[in-house]
Structures are given as structure tokens and as C-alpha cells.
């Protein structure tokens, strides 16, 4: 059995089904993200695992032990909260030692050693006597990590720990979480609605939508083969076009006479919705196949990339190009669809 084995987890609040029969296996040392829009049941799942929500049905086995029915303090899991939940009335040392005092029988000297060790690991050496309230956002984040890491938990749980940080700090902490995981290899579940975090951090991503498991696969697989419109749209942006399948292995845009050769993988797909990633559309390519003419409808400069909306036939496509804007509204251009696929509507 996998290190973490969740079977048919279900939680309802009256008529609201927060988590709908979700099953999940996580191998030891794996980093798994739960990705989904607001209200999709991410926190409810995480709280069920940590023991703060009583599931309506299902089982959660960690390291061979059934967790359902155990109070939170008897599950050896470290939970990092969105708002960190550091104890404001305690020093950094007392925050980090809090768990050691309850979970382990250590002498004061052993405890000091363990705390010093873990503060070293999260790059806060010598911070023991600091007051929580006087720490910067990033430092508080590290204390929150140290506080759970010091207990060497079976399972690390993160509930959107970076969502309150500014962009730069968020990027930095994301890298640090990744480094920590690479070094300590603690099995982790990371809840987020930020696809970038999910894709860059995880070995596998669970995509939730309205309490249901939509996909559970490695990030590259989810990105390259989204399978459903929801995933194609939520994990990365996508353009969608209704198509009809032709006899000779082509798809033809509805309302247009644009035809594209169909990928072999899509030959049996029982769907007529095509998705095209913005980065898979090339503007003004050298002549070749699959080139169509269009008109630039809008230009937005986003710094390192520029976002265009281009009308091709009766459809408008979002596309991105590296660098500063080269075309302006009204320009006539040609486009080539480099890659695309079919998804369930």
C-alpha cells in the first residue's frame, strides 16, 4: 500500500458536498499539490487529513495506520497554515519548542540543540530569543516551517502558505520549500489555487473541481494532455474552438473553413472541442503549413512577454510572444497553430 492512502473521502455540510469521494495514493517522499479554484474542497481535504474535519465517509491511512478517529494531536503531521498561526506571546524558541514539549521527552539542553539545528536549516540561526511580532514576513514563514519540521513529521501539510506574501517573497519561499523538500524528503501535500506553484513544486498534482477529483498526474502530463476543458483552462491558459471531425484525419473549425490535421492520440476522442495554448500560436511564421491570416485586435505589454488577441476567421485567439510589442491593433498578420489537442467540454 502507498505511504498515504486515501479512499473515497467524502465530506458534506448539509446539502453542500465539499469533498466528493476522492481517492488518492501518495508514495513516501512524494510532493503532491492539491490544485483547484476557490471552494473546490482543498482545505476540507487537508483538514480531514490533519484531523480538524470529521469526514462523512472514507478512510485515510498514513504509514499503515488509519487516521480517522484519531485526534489531531495524535497524528504525526506538520501543518503550515495560510496565516502561519505563530503564537504571538512566545519567542521564536518557544514557538519551535512547542511541539517538542508535547510530543517528545527531552531535557532542556536536548531541546535547545534540536531548535538550534532546525533554525539553522531554515536559515534563521541564532533567532531563538527574537519576538515573533518583530520578524519580517519571510522570517515568520520560516519559523512556521521550523516549528513543524523540528518534529520530523510523517506528513507535511501546507494550506496556501504563500498566498499572503508579495510576489518576490512568494517566489523565494517557493524555492526554499522546494529545496527543503529535496533535502529532507518528507512526504508533503501542498494546497494551492496557484497553478504555477503546483506545477513547479510537485511530483504529482491533484486537480479538484467542486469537490471532485478531475485529474491526478505529474505536472507535465497535466499540462501537455489536459483531457478536459476545465483543466486546460485552469492549468495554464487555453483558447477553445468548436470543431467538426473530418474523414481524412482532420478537424475543421466550426463557422470557418480552417482545417488542421488531427493528432493520432485524438483520433478516438469523442469530443469536438479543440484547445490551443497561447504559447503554441506563432505570429508571422516563415511560410509553411497550417498558416492562416488574421488581424491583431489588442496588444498588452506584460514586461517580459506581450499578449495579443488575434482574430482568425470568426474566432479570437489569445497568444503570447516574447519581448516588447511588435504589432499594434489593426495590423494584418499570419498565424500558425503549432500544437493543439482535443478536450472534453
Amino acid at each position: 500500500m502507498a505511504f498515504v492512502n486515501i479512499q473515497n473521502l467524502r465530506k458534506t455540510y448539509g446539502d453542500v458536498v465539499a469533498v466528493n469521494d476522492v481517492s488518492l495514493d501518495i508514495e513516501e517522499g512524494e510532493f503532491v499539490s492539491i490544485l483547484g479554484p476557490s471552494g473546490s474542497g482543498k482545505t476540507t481535504m487537508l483538514k480531514s487529513i490533519a484531523g480538524f474535519v470529521d469526514p462523512t465517509a472514507g478512510s485515510i491511512v498514513v504509514a499503515g495506520n488509519e487516521m480517522i478517529g484519531l485526534p489531531p494531536e495524535d497524528r504525526n503531521m506538520g501543518l503550515v497554515f495560510q496565516r502561519l498561526a505563530l503564537f504571538p506571546h512566545m519567542s521564536v524558541f518557544d514557538n519551535v519548542a512547542f511541539g517538542l514539549r508535547h510530543r517528545e521527552n527531552l531535557t532542556e539542553a536536548e531541546m535547545e540543540e534540536r531548535v538550534a539545528e532546525i533554525l539553522e536549516i531554515v536559515s534563521l540561526p541564532g533567532y531563538e530569543d527574537r519576538n515573533i511580532q518583530n520578524l519580517s514576513g519571510g522570517e515568520q514563514q520560516r519559523v512556521a516551517l521550523a516549528r513543524v519540521l523540528v518534529l520530523e513529521p510523517d506528513l507535511l501539510l501546507y494550506d496556501e502558505p504563500l498566498s499572503d506574501l508579495d510576489r518576490q517573497l512568494r517566489e523565494q519561499m517557493r524555492r526554499e520549500i522546494k529545496d527543503l523538500h529535496d533535502r529532507l524528503e518528507i512526504t508533503s501535500i501542498y494546497v494551492t489555487h496557484n497553478q504555477r506553484e503546483a506545477l513547479t513544486l510537485s511530483d504529482r498534482v491533484l486537480v479538484l473541481h467542486e469537490g471532485e477529483k478531475i485529474r491526478y498526474a505529474p505536472p507535465s502530463e497535466i499540462y501537455q494532455d489536459p483531457q478536459s476543458k476545465f483543466v486546460a483552462n485552469f492549468v495554464g491558459d487555453s483558447n477553445f474552438v468548436s470543431v467538426t471531425k473530418g474523414q481524412n484525419g482532420t478537424v475543421t473549425f466550426e463557422d470557418d473553413d480552417i482545417s488542421l490535421p488531427m493528432h493520432e492520440a485524438d483520433a478516438d476522442a469523442a469530443t469536438d472541442l479543440l484547445y490551443i495554448r497561447p504559447e503554441d500560436i506563432t505570429i508571422n511564421p516563415p511560410d509553411g503549413e497550417r498558416v492562416f491570416s488574421g488581424t491583431v485586435r489588442s496588444t498588452v505589454h506584460l514586461g517580459s512577454v506581450t499578449e495579443y488577441k488575434i482574430e482568425v476567421g470568426g474566432n479570437e485567439f489569445l497568444t503570447t510572444d516574447l519581448g516588447a510589442p511588435q504589432y499594434t491593433e489593426g495590423d494584418s498578420v499570419t498565424v500558425r497553430f503549432e500544437d493543439y489537442g482535443l478536450v472534453e467540454a
Binding site: G51, A85, L86, H89, F98, H102, L151
Partner: protein
Amino acid sequence: MLGAITDFTGDLVGRPNRVSDWLDEYLPAVPPAAYLLFFLIIPILYAVYISFFEYSATTIISWNFTLEHYEQLLFDPFYQGLLWYTVRLSLIVSAFCVLLGYPLGYFIATTTPLRRQLALFAVFLPLMVGTVVRIYGWIVLFATNGVINTVLQDLLGFKIALLGNTLSVTIGLIGVYLPLVVLPVYSSIEDIPDSLVPAARNLGANQLQAFYKVTFRLSLPGLLTGTIFVFVLTMNSIVTPDLLGGRSDLTMGRLIYDSAVNGLNWPFASAVGTILTITTTAMVYIYFSFVRDRMGVSEWD
């Protein structure tokens, strides 16, 4: 405004303008300082001052120095008993206000919004009605010929003394001052972020340990504030003991009132006031230090 002007003149002269810097810094403190001076410090100092003079039936204060009021208050068993009665009453009332008020404040802070509103309303409502009005209401109910005793007499043929004793004074004071503990406790628990207790549980604390180390500990400032209010007000209470108590339920406050207003013995009343203030301050200080040392409460936010 003042700051802008100061900066401007500072630039103009090219060096710090001492006088306006000084004004900038201390001017905002003047109104509160004046308030304290006129309404607290001067009256107290004056009261302490006249407590060292003899009483005169004709001029009230005779201006002959004496320690007789203090000798009387500190060594006469009657007055000793009266101080002890006041202290004991205040301790008991404070203790019960904590025992009843803390759970009530906790309940209000943690229950559903609807129940919270109802409970808060129930706690606030009595504060809207003056103490005297409320106590007269109780008297109508509990007096020897009041509603309850009339019913008892009719049904069972006897009456019980529900008023005019120390018990009725104690219960009355608890009833009057309970909100003063409930409200600060409620608000300090309400301010605790929701995730702190789950965080403590996740780190291995059971429900009771998490409550003690997080909720209770973070609500101590509120509890402390509330208890000090109740203690100080009971030490100085006049109306409730007067209306609900018997002849022997004499507090220091009633003594001051009787001496100053009925007896016009201002020097003696001032001496009672001085002793009451010193005792109250000393006890509050001891309580405060005790909580601070025991609980490690060092900061008050």
C-alpha cells in the same frame, strides 16, 4: 499642522528649532495631563493633605496637625473590621465574577453568531439601566414584604430574609459588575486568530493544553482588566451595599459617605479615603505582579 510649520521654520533657520520641536513632542500630552492633574491628582493630594488635620464642628477643618484619624482607623477594632469586610467582599465578588464571567465570555466569543448577539445583548442591557433602578427592582422582588416572600407566605406559611445581609450584598455586586469581566474577556478571546488552537493541537497539545497555553494565556490581559475593574469598584462601592445590605454591611465607601456628607467630618473621611486608595492600589499591584510572574505575561498590547 504643527509638524509642517516646524519643518518649515527648521529649514528657514537651517538648524533644529528647539522650542517648536519641544512643543511638537509634548503639546499632544497636555490635555490628558491636565485632565489627570485637575480631576485626579490635585483632589487626591488635597484629600491626603486635610486628612492630617483635626476636625472642627464649626469650621470643619481646624488646621491643627494630627494623626488621630489614622490611629483610629488602623488600631480601633471596629474600623479594622470594616476595612477587612470591604477587602473580603471585594475579593469574593471579584473571584465569583471571574468564575462566572470567564466561561460566559468564552461562550460568547466561540458560539454561533446568532447566540453571540443574543448573549451580548443580555450582557449589555443591564449596563443601559442604572444601578439604582436595577437594585430597586430587586428590592421589590426580594424584600421582606416583596413579591417572592408574599408568594412564599401564602403558599408555605413562612418568609426568608433575602435582603439586608452580606449574601444579598455579594450577589447584588456580582450581578452589577459581572459584565465588566465578561466584555473584556469576550473581546480578548474574539481577537485570537482562529488557527492558533488548531496549530497547538497539530503540534501535539490536547484540547485542554491548547486551551490553557493559547486561549487562556492570550485572554489573560482581558481577564486581568476585568477583575481589576470589579475589584476597584467593589472596594469603593456605596450604593449597592447601602441598598441591599443590613446595618453591619458597612463598607469603607459607605463610611466615607457617612462621615463626609452626614457628619461633615471631611478630615476623617479623607483619611478613610487615603487608606482605601492605598489598600486598593497595593492589592491591585500585588495581583498584577502575581499574574505577570506566574503566567509570564510581560507585554500588554
